[in-house]
């Protein structure tokens, strides 16, 4: 049943729903609808003109005192698009705010970057070379979980509550209700607590942190560059062995593809209003409840507005945090060297690294001892020197490239043959 008064306006008030667990029981919803109609009649003089934007201004009577156990809510919108600044802002609020009577939803967007979970291995999750070439930041966040791609077409939502009020499912249901109410999109919360649309994962990456306070954050793919996403999040992990958290990959889709009217701005507004109109027990409070809240606020994350923010930001930006916190892993590649009389590969040289806290703890070169002669002595010397030089240095994929460069130097006839051999093999296999 559509509201007659919403004609010409994008907001559709539904009193019935195909997904009963997203909406309050029909009775409550009907009541709030009637209240709204009454409000319209008695406040005719003060009614706001229906604006042309899809979200209408709500105007109704407000009570000063909310029920004692119902916290007041704010929606904060970050003015920064820098991932490190926003991560620092999130951390600042988590550490410094008291959310007992005042709960906050922080909405933020970032310039293109990749965000890995607290216990992840960037090299296992991201094509680091591609990220560096595209001048994309790789940032480690403070909460666990998997890896996500951010750009301006992606909306981040962080729900702050005291520890006792932490409830991921309720938060995701708010998002689903907002998408339905505003855009008619039937999103669902999956058993794994992801939000899916038609079986595709819309909200990529939901993660949380619990302490005295709690936050639950998630992303909403509205209009992100999905090509870049798949290019960056599918690295070559041959030879990489790690116990770090591995992302669970799932197919993703932009909301805009399902409904062309969705933009990040109106998704932001719709999720914000839905958050404000939802009671802490998950029920819909309607426009009545919105009037009792503190509304939307822009937030400027600088050190002067939030003393101590710069310190947190520099930690999030440091190499020690982003790469140094990588759990221990090993990296190994083998290369064929030499040709036997019968044209087969004579032996394999193995390059193996052990990386702890992002630094190369151990670097080894392995070659069967009797086959050492297969390697040009200059090459062997170069490789040995290289192995020694990289110990205790930060790990990066360029090390592999350098190793390969030294091994396959042009003036090494053996290596040249090997290269031809490889090409021949690859042509045969094609």
């Amino acid at each position: 049943m559509q509201s007659v008064l919403s004609k010409g306006v994008g907001v559709i008030l539904r009193t019935a729903s195909k997904h009963p667990h997203f909406f309050a029981p029909a009775a409550t919803t009907t009541n709030s609808f009637i209240l709204w109609e009454t409000g319209f009649a008695s406040h005719g003089a003060s009614k706001q003109p229906l604006s042309s934007s899809p979200l209408r201004f709500y105007s109704a009577k407000a009570g000063l005192a909310t029920a004692k156990d119902e916290p007041e809510k704010s929606v904060f919108i970050s003015q920064s698009a820098d991932i490190h600044t926003n991560l620092a802002l999130e951390d600042w609020l988590y550490k410094n705010f008291n959310f007992e009577n005042h709960q906050v939803l922080l909405l933020w967007r970032n310039d293109p970057c990749v965000v890995i979970g607290r216990h992840q291995n960037p090299w296992a999750e991201v094509d680091v070379n591609l990220a560096e070439e595209s001048k994309l930041t790789i940032a480690r966040r403070n909460s666990g979980g998997g890896c996500v791609y951010h750009d301006r077409g992606n909306l981040n939502c962080t729900f702050f509550t005291p520890r006792a009020g932490y409830d991921r499912k309720k938060n995701l249901e708010i998002i689903c209700r907002a998408l339905d109410r505003q855009f008619g999109l039937q999103a669902e919360v999956s058993p794994r607590e992801d939000v899916t649309l038609h079986g595709y994962k819309q909200i990529s990456g939901t993660a949380a942190k619990l302490g005295k306070n709690a936050y639950h954050h998630c992303t909403v793919l509205v209009d992100a560059d999905l090509k870049k996403l798949s290019a960056l999040l599918n690295p070559n992990t041959d030879g990489l062995e790690s116990k770090a958290t591995k992302s669970v990959k799932a197919p993703v889709k932009n909301l805009k593809a399902a409904n062309d009217e969705v933009t990040v701005e109106n998704a932001l507004a719709s999720i914000g209003y839905e958050y404000l109109r939802t009671y802490s027990d998950g029920n819909d409070g309607g426009e009545e409840l919105i009037q009792k809240q503190r509304g939307f606020q822009m937030v400027n994350p600088t050190n002067e507005w939030f003393p101590g923010l710069d310190k947190i930001r520099s930690e999030f930006k440091s190499w020690d945090w982003n790469y140094g916190k990588t759990p221990e892993f090993s990296f190994q590649r083998s290369y064929p060297v030499g040709l036997g009389r019968d044209g087969n590969i004579a032996a394999n040289i193995s390059f193996r690294l052990n990386v702890v806290k992002g630094l190369i703890q151990l670097a080894t070169l392995e070659l069967p001892s009797e086959k050492q002669s297969l390697l040009d002595p200059n090459t062997f010397a170069d490789l040995s020197a290289f192995i020694n030089a990289i110990k205790d240095r930060p790990f990066h994929m360029g090390i592999l490239a350098t190793f390969e460069g030294l091994l396959f130097k042009r003036n090494n006839p053996v290596s040249l043959n090997v290269t031809h051999q490889r090409i021949r093999e690859s042509l045969l296999n094609a």
Partner: protein, 410 residues
């Protein structure tokens, strides 16, 4: 019957020539207002109620980005919402509203535009070290506003309800106050006569509104004392006038005088009155003097509330604190330029400072008067009174000192 008696008693408080039935009786503002409720007889123009507030939240796409704290120039940046409530003679007070900040629709004949039927207030909300927001002695601003309303013939209202509305809008706008200890939210309640008819007469329509400005630290570049310019030809207030009310019409004409002071290389105007050149106020602040008096004791002197002086909230607070500390003799009396010059000559004028909401206290370094520059050693004192006042008031504002003057908004 009792209420009738009270009305008659209130009428007796009026000067004889005003004891006519069609002039509104004065609200009894002697006692603290927060501890009591106002009866309907005391509110002949009715009142609005904070519980009737209609809130229209500014939608996200209309929010203003917050500037850097360093760019928060006083009075230039406003918050996202404003409070308004209207009154007309027939239907009395309408419903109070909080709505997105925007222009006011006003008829060109509105009395405020022609005859300056306007009052305003100035107060601040501070974010304490506990993260909570506090107002400072809002009941004093309410009293002053209501007294001024009577003078401007604007309607009365229940001050506690207005404080309730101010608390609500400050709560909505609290993220406009940085989380550091040097900034605040300046609150500007404004009361205007909007009757759309020409004629110097009582305004049958009024609007009370509140706008808010985030302000950074007043002394951004450190605490620098100011130089004053005193010219007896310019008079800010006079007996029988309304210099003791916060009417806009008192301030408009002072801009010209401020410019003449600046043209002479001085920073603020020292307002003098009378043949004996009494010192009354500095710029828009009250003044205080710390002197070593004839008996060798340290004395705090400030001009009395004789009709020429605006009863400042900071002024009351300085007097209340100094009385509590019992370190100085406190005297409210007039002081003349002749006396000041004599005290300076005898090295007995220790400090001179202004007191106001904007800067809390403002030390004075010199007065330029009739071609002479008089140096005042305010900044040279050890443990000056003005620093002690500043530190104590700051501690109260920012919640470091738990004090009834700091009123929480939630």
């Amino acid at each position: 019957m009792a209420s009738l008696g009270r009305t008659f008693r209130l009428l007796r408080l009026l000067p004889a020539e005003l004891q006519t039935s069609h002039v509104k009786p004065a609200l009894n503002l002697r006692a603290p207002i927060s501890s009591r409720s106002f009866s309907t007889e005391e509110l002949p123009d009715g009142t609005f109620k904070a519980s009737d507030l209609e809130v229209t939240l500014t939608p996200p796409h209309k929010l203003q980005a917050k500037p850097d704290v360093g760019n928060l120039i006083f009075g230039r940046t406003f918050t996202d919402h404003m409070f308004t409530v209207e009154w007309d003679k027939k239907t009395q007070w309408g419903n109070p509203q909080i709505k997105p900040m925007g222009n006011l629709p006003i008829h060109p004949a509105a009395k405020v535009l022609h005859y300056a039927i306007e009052l305003f207030e100035g107060m601040k909300a501070y974010r304490g070290v506990d993260g909570r927001i506090r107002l400072f002695r809002p009941d004093l601003n309410m009293k002053r506003l209501l007294r001024g309303a009577r003078r401007a013939m604007l309607p009365t209202f229940d001050p506690n309800e207005f404080i309730g509305c101010i608390k609500k809008i400050v709560k909505l706008e609290q993220e406009w106050i940085p989380h550091s200890e040097t900034s605040s939210l300046y609150i500007r309640p404004t009361f205007i006569g909007t009757d759309p008819s020409l004629g110097v007469a009582l305004s049958n329509n009024a609007m009370l509104y509140v706008i808010l400005c985030p302000v950074g630290p007043y002394f951004a570049t450190g605490f620098k004392p100011v130089s004053l310019y005193a010219d007896p030809q310019y008079v800010r207030a006079w007996p029988g006038g309304c210099g003791d009310q916060k009417l806009g019409s008192n301030y408009g004409p002072t801009v010209f005088v401020q410019k003449t002071a600046e043209a002479r290389g001085q920073q603020q105007v020292l307002w003098l009155y009378g043949e004996d050149h009494q010192l009354t106020e500095v710029g828009t602040m009250n003044i205080f003097f710390v002197v070593k008096n004839d008996n060798g004791e340290r004395e705090l002197i400030t001009p009395p509330l004789n009709g020429l002086i605006l009863p400042g909230v900071t002024r009351f607070s300085v007097l209340d604190l100094c009385r509590e500390w019992k370190e100085l003799k406190i005297t409210e009396r007039t002081i003349t330029m002749k006396e000041v010059k004599q005290l300076v000559k005898e090295n007995r004028l220790l400090e001179m400072f202004g007191a106001g909401t904007a800067c809390i206290v403002c030390p004075v370094s010199s007065i330029t008067y009739l071609g002479e520059k008089i140096e005042i050693p305010t900044a040279e004192q050890e443990n000056p009174v003005y620093m002690k006042v500043l530190n104590t008031l700051s501690d109260i504002y920012y919640g470091k000192l738990n004090h009834p003057w700091g009123v929480l908004v939630d």
